[in-house]
């Protein structure tokens, strides 16, 4: 077991980081916002931490808090202009946001190191810290799912006009979703930079966006289990196909297609739904037999 952990520790850590980014992405999708800003939030959090940790004496713990707060604040601000957009238009506007962040990171060489990025960030984060933070994040997501906020997000995702006819302030809840998405993205971005020693703008580019989206869609867009399953698959996928060497990519492609075709809601969501349906079926059966019993009496 220890041996296993020793050999596979980076995979475990990256799995945990992806889970975090996954929740940042998922909360937006859950609220019906097609945002792909997670990459930008992660970049903000990670650069904030990296710059503070390498160039100032701010305590590490505080740098993470500041990075999280910065990304959350930017998320909240971003929500304001985006309030008028929907669907793919939001996606493109958030893509523009990410691209702007990235080019500013490339451009602000003196401050951000440009393409070279920032090297020598203290490695303060390990598996246990990641585990704890992922746990806390899950706890918050779980609460959101069971509370009125979760119900509002569900309503916004499925039929906005219904939500507003029931008194839901759509703008407010979009801002909340963006702030949470920003905070979680910034938090894990900060942890990532304290984990990987070196960061560069390139880390948060198109590949990052595609990867987080894949984690959430493949795992599931609505349940707590979703990003976990998605991140798990994405973490072990390269390992499964490794013996196939250069055909690995193609095999990964085939696996993605197969999984999503047969489990279109994502692996995690389908598992949760399956349990839910089974429970419903049992309840229904129960009620039916109760009814029969009553009919027999009368």
């Amino acid at each position: 077991m220890i041996q296993f952990y020793y050999a596979y520790q980076p995979i475990i850590d990256f799995f945990l980081l992806s889970v975090g980014f996954g929740y940042s992405q998922q909360i937006a999708l859950r609220a019906g916002v097609f945002s792909i800003a997670t990459a930008g939030f992660a970049a903000l959090g990670s650069y904030c931490v990296a710059i503070l940790a390498t160039k100032t004496g701010v305590p590490i713990f505080l740098t993470v808090i500041l990075g999280t707060a910065l990304a959350a604040a930017v998320g909240g601000l971003l929500a304001l202009p985006l309030a008028r957009l929907r669907g793919a238009f939001q996606a493109i506007a958030t893509l523009a946001f990410v691209q702007i962040i990235l080019s500013l990171l490339l451009y602000g060489e003196g401050f951000t190191g440009g393409a070279l990025g920032i090297v020598g960030i203290p490695r303060e984060v390990n598996t246990w810290i990641l585990l704890i933070v992922v746990g806390l994040t899950m706890y918050v997501m779980w609460n959101i799912g069971r509370s009125g906020m979760g119900r509002v997000f569900n309503a916004l995702r499925q039929e906005e006009s219904v939500a507003s006819s029931l008194g839901v302030n759509i703008g407010k809840y979009h801002i909340i979703a963006f702030i949470i998405s920003g905070a979680v993205g910034g938090l894990f971005g900060g942890l990532q930079s304290l984990y990987t020693f070196q960061i560069e703008p390139h880390n948060y580019g198109f590949a990052f966006i595609v990867n987080v989206l894949t984690v959430v869609i493949l795992g599931g867009r609505t349940t707590l289990l979703g990003p976990i399953m998605g991140a798990l698959i994405m973490a072990i996928l390269p390992e499964i196909a490794r013996p196939l060497a250069e055909y690995r990519q193609a095999v990964n492609g085939v696996i993605l297609i197969l999984v999503i075709t047969f489990l279109p809601n994502g692996v995690g969501d389908e598992i949760v739904f399956w349990f839910r349906r089974r429970k419903q079926a049992r309840q229904q059966q129960h009620r039916a037999s109760e009814k029969e019993a009553r009919d027999a009496v009368s």
Binding site: I144, R151, G167
Partner: protein, 254 residues
């Protein structure tokens, strides 16, 4: 309990006067009818009251305060709920969850309390769940509680719309053809519920093409035709008004 008033309300779509200087009132504790031929402007009236459409002219007040320019969610918070003529459900959510969202206005826990799972948030959820089950039983939908709403038969979907609208105990409910697609027996069940709601002090605006149903339930009926109010008053009298018969009811005497 407040009353809903429309004063000289108009809505124009380009050159089309969909609603033309209409005044009416939905008093508390009563069921008020709104009838008229297809395209008369009834749903447009509902959309203007509920904050979906902007008014071209006129004013709408609840309890004397104008809501004419309020956003939809603000109108709802002021106690006006509605159903949609073209059913709008959360298709992937269960029937129970569809009803639960109706309580949004009554939430007491704040955003932070919800995120941290504080007792206030749990209390909300628990309270709403109990009330939702009451509603399900009242509408005889408890067997469908765990059904995905999108898979229900048409008539059952209508019931979900209504439960959701009345969940938060609004002062005014706008019902846009609530019993469309139901037979007489089913409609009568709902009529009982409507009457109970009115008796509890709610003001109901009922849009319906089943004239018998309207005359039986409503204290007062307004008739729209091509956006204009052509008659109003006592239901029995209104449906015998020759103008109404010609424009709306026809001669077969329904």
């Amino acid at each position: 309990m407040p009353s809903l008033k429309l004063e000289n309300v108009a809505k124009h779509f380009g050159g089309l006067k969909a609603v033309d200087k209409v005044s009416m009132e939905v008093p508390p504790g009563e069921i008020t009818g709104l009838i008229g031929p297809n395209g008369a402007g009834k749903s447009t009236v509902v959309n203007m009251i509920s904050g979906v459409l902007a008014l071209t002219e006129g004013d709408i007040t609840v309890d004397g305060v104008s809501v004419a320019t309020d956003r939809a969610d603000i109108v709802a918070r002021k106690g006006v709920a509605r159903t949609f003529q073209n059913i709008r459900l959360l298709p992937e959510a269960t029937v129970l969850d569809n009803v639960m969202i109706g309580f949004h206005r009554r939430e007491e826990a704040g955003v932070l309390a919800q995120m941290l799972g504080l007792p206030a948030a749990r209390r909300d959820t628990k309270r709403f769940e109990e009330k939702a089950w009451d509603l399900l039983r009242r509408f005889r939908m408890e067997d469908f509680a765990e059904y995905e709403a999108g898979n229900l038969a048409y008539g059952h979907q209508r019931r979900v719309e209504m439960m959701r609208a009345i969940a938060a105990e609004p002062d005014i409910v706008l019902l846009d053809e609530p019993v469309a697609g139901m037979n007489d027996v089913e409609s009568d069940e709902l009529a009982t519920i409507f009457r109970e709601l009115a008796d509890s002090g709610m003001g109901l605006l009922l849009i319906e093409h089943n004239v018998g149903f309207v005359t039986r339930l409503c204290k007062k009926v307004y008739v729209l035709d091509s956006g204009r109010m052509i008659a109003s008053g006592d239901p029995e009298a209104v449906v015998r008004d020759p103008q109404v018969v010609a424009a709306y009811i026809g001669t077969s005497g329904h």
